[in-house]
C-alpha cells in the first residue's frame, strides 16, 4: 500500500467518522424533538443565528426545526469551563471519555453502507466484519467503567459497576442472537464467513427480519441493552444514581460521553439494518432499482440512511414509552430469559437449516 492509497483510506475513515458524528448530533436533536412531540410539546424551536435565521422562509423553517439549537448545544459544550473535581483520578478521568467515544466511531468501517455498480461500498471489506464489531464496540464499556471508577465517588462507581455487569450479561445473548444469521448465510458451498457485505447481498430478495423474526427480536433487545438505552439505561439511571458514570464530568468531556452514547445508537441502528433489514437493498422481493454509477451509490446510501433514521426513531420512541427496568430485573431478563431463549433459538435455526439444506451438498 503506497502513501496515496493510505491517505485516501484515511480520508474515507475521517469522512465516515464525521458522518456518524453528525448523525449522532442530529439524533440528539431528534431525541428532543420526538420526545417533545410524544409529550404534546414542540421541542426546541427558538434558537436562531442572526443573518442565517433571517433568510425569509428557510431561516424560519430551520429555526423551528431546531437545527440552531444543535449548534448552540455544541458551542456550549466547547466553551463551558472545564471543572475537574479534586478527588478524581486524573489520568483515567481524562482517558475515559476518549475510550467511550472511539469504539463508537471505529466499527462503522466494516459496515456496508451503499452499493456501487452492484458491489457493496464499505471501508474495509473484511470477512471477519461481525467479529470486529463485537470486539470493538464492547470496548466502549471500558470507558464507562473507567469513568465510574476514576470519578472516585459512589454514584459514578455504582453506574460503572452496573454498566459492566449489564454488558457481560447481554453480550452473551447478543452473540448467540447473531449466530443464526451467519449460520443461515454460511450454508454449504458459500464463503460468506462473518462478512457483513455477504449478509447484505444475501438479503437482496429476503430480509432476515421475517426469515428469523425471533432472532431479530432477541438481537433488538440486546442492542437496547448494549447501547445503554432506556429501558436498560442502568449505568445512567438519573433517578437513583444522579447521572451515573458521568456524574463528575462536565463541559466538553460530558459532551464526548453524550456524543459517544448517540454514536452507539446510530451504529447500533445501522447494524440492525444491515443484519435484519436488508442493508441498502430496496425492499424485500423487489430488485434494488439503483442505477449504475455514482447516482446509484448515492441513492442506495441515502436509502440506508433512511432506514437507519427510522430505527433511531424507534429507539427514541421506546425510550419515551417504557419506564426503566429495576437493576435486578435487568439481570433476570438477561440471564434467565434472553440467554436460554437465544440458545434455544440457535438450536431451532440449526435444525431448520438441517431440514432445508440438501443432505449431500
Amino acid at each position: 500500500m503506497n502513501l496515496i492509497e493510505l491517505l485516501i483510506t484515511a480520508a474515507c475513515g475521517l469522512g465516515a467518522a464525521i458522518a456518524i458524528m453528525s448523525m449522532a448530533g442530529l439524533s440528539v436533536l431528534a431525541e428532543r424533538k420526538v420526545c417533545g412531540a410524544l409529550q404534546g410539546r414542540l421541542g426546541p424551536n427558538r434558537t436562531t443565528i442572526p443573518l442565517l435565521g433571517d433568510i425569509p422562509i428557510l431561516g424560519r423553517m430551520i429555526t423551528r426545526i431546531g437545527i440552531f439549537q444543535l449548534v448552540a448545544d455544541a458551542a456550549k459544550f466547547v466553551f463551558k469551563e472545564e471543572t475537574i473535581p479534586g478527588h478524581v483520578k486524573k489520568f483515567y478521568y481524562h482517558l475515559a471519555p476518549i475510550v467511550v467515544l472511539i469504539p463508537a466511531l471505529v466499527p462503522i468501517s466494516v459496515l456496508p453502507f451503499g452499493s456501487l455498480d452492484g458491489e457493496p461500498m464499505i471501508l474495509a471489506n473484511v470477512d471477519i466484519g461481525m467479529l470486529v464489531i463485537l470486539a470493538v464496540s464492547s470496548l466502549g464499556v471500558y470507558g464507562t467503567v473507567l469513568a465510574g471508577w476514576a470519578a472516585n465517588s459512589k454514584y459514578p462507581f455504582l453506574g460503572g459497576v452496573r454498566a459492566s455487569a449489564q454488558m457481560i450479561s447481554y453480550e452473551l445473548a447478543m452473540g448467540l442472537a447473531i449466530l443464526p444469521v451467519f449460520l443461515w448465510i454460511n450454508q454449504p458451498g458459500s464463503d460468506a464467513a462473518l462478512s457483513l457485505s455477504s449478509v447484505v447481498s444475501f438479503q437482496e430478495t429476503h430480509w432476515f427480519v421475517y426469515l428469523q423474526p425471533f432472532t431479530a427480536l432477541l438481537f433488538l433487545i440486546c442492542l437496547f441493552a448494549e447501547t445503554n438505552r432506556a429501558p436498560f439505561d442502568m449505568a445512567e439511571s438519573e433517578t437513583d444514581l444522579v447521572g451515573g458514570f458521568h456524574t463528575e464530568y462536565g463541559a466538553f468531556k460530558f459532551g464526548m460521553f453524550f456524543i459517544g452514547e448517540y454514536a452507539h445508537i446510530v451504529f447500533g441502528s445501522a447494524l440492525f439494518v444491515t443484519l435484519f433489514l436488508g442493508g441498502f437493498n430496496f425492499l424485500p422481493m423487489f430488485a434494488s432499482p439503483w442505477p449504475a454509477g455514482v447516482v446509484g451509490a448515492v441513492l442506495s446510501t441515502l436509502w440506508f440512511v433512511v432506514k437507519v433514521s427510522g430505527l433511531i426513531f424507534f429507539f427514541i420512541w421506546i425510550r419515551w414509552t417504557l419506564p426503566r427496568f429495576r437493576y435486578d430485573q435487568v439481570m433476570t431478563l438477561g440471564w434467565k430469559v434472553l440467554l436460554p431463549l437465544s440458545i434455544v433459538n440457535l438450536l431451532v435455526v440449526m435444525f431448520i437449516l438441517m431440514a432445508i439444506t440438501p443432505v449431500n451438498a
Binding site: 420526538v34 417533545g36 412531540a37 410524544l38 409529550q39 404534546g40 410539546r41 414542540l42 420512541w317 421506546i318 419515551w320 414509552t321 417504557l322
Partner: protein, 182 residues
C-alpha cells in the same frame, strides 16, 4: 364507606403478559397517538395566556371614579403584609382640599415588588378598597431600587377603578344637609 369499597382481585399474570411484549406494543401505541395529537405548548411571548378575573398579580393603588385617592393610610395593609413589602408614610390631607373630611392620605406609599408574594392579603384587609392586585404577571427591572414601586407609580398602574360606593362623598353630603335631612 361501607358497601362502597370494591376489592380488586389480584390476578396472576397471563403468559402473554409475562413476556411483556403486548404491553410494550400497547405502550408504543399510546405514545404514538400522543405524537399525532395537537401540541399543547403555548408559545408564550407571542401568545399570552388568558388571565382569569381576580387573578393575583402585581398589587397597586386605585382611585375612585371621581379620581379621588382612596387610601387613607390606615396602615392595615402594611401591618398584614406577610413579607413586609409595604411601607407607608401617613400624611394629612391639606386644609384647602375638597376631601379634608377624609383627613388622612399616604404621604408616601411603597411596595417592594421583589418582596411581595402576591398573597392578596392587602387587598382583603383594606377597609377603603384602595389596593387591588392587578392582572400583571410579568414584572422585571434592572435593579432592586427600580422594583420598589412608589406611590406615583402605584397609582399609574392601578388607575381608576369603577365602583359606586362614593363613601366619603355621601358622608360629606350627609354632613352638609345635616342629620335632619334623613
Amino acid at each position: 364507606m361501607p358497601g362502597k369499597s370494591k376489592v380488586m382481585e389480584r390476578k396472576p399474570l397471563t403468559w402473554a403478559e409475562k413476556t411483556y411484549l403486548p404491553q410494550v406494543i400497547g405502550g408504543l401505541g399510546v405514545t404514538f397517538k400522543n405524537l399525532m395529537r395537537k401540541k399543547v405548548t403555548m408559545e408564550y411571548p407571542e401568545v399570552k395566556p388568558p388571565i382569569p378575573d381576580r387573578y393575583r398579580g402585581q398589587p397597586a393603588l386605585v382611585k375612585d371614579p371621581d379620581g379621588r385617592e382612596k387610601c387613607v393610610s390606615c396602615q392595615l395593609c402594611e401591618f398584614v403584609c406577610p413579607p413586609k413589602a409595604i411601607t407607608i408614610q401617613p400624611g394629612s390631607i391639606p386644609d384647602e382640599s375638597d376631601d379634608i373630611h377624609v383627613e388622612k392620605a399616604p404621604e408616601e406609599f411603597e411596595i417592594d415588588m421583589l418582596r411581595c408574594i402576591y398573597c392578596g392579603l392587602c387587598e382583603e384587609v383594606c377597609p377603603e378598597e384602595a389596593i387591588f392586585l392587578q392582572d400583571i404577571y410579568s414584572l422585571n427591572g434592572l435593579s432592586r431600587e427600580e422594583l420598589k414601586f412608589k406611590k406615583a407609580k402605584l397609582y399609574e398602574v392601578g388607575g381608576i377603578r369603577e365602583d359606586s360606593h362614593f363613601k366619603w362623598k355621601k358622608k360629606k353630603e350627609a354632613e352638609q344637609k345635616g342629620n335632619a335631612a334623613h
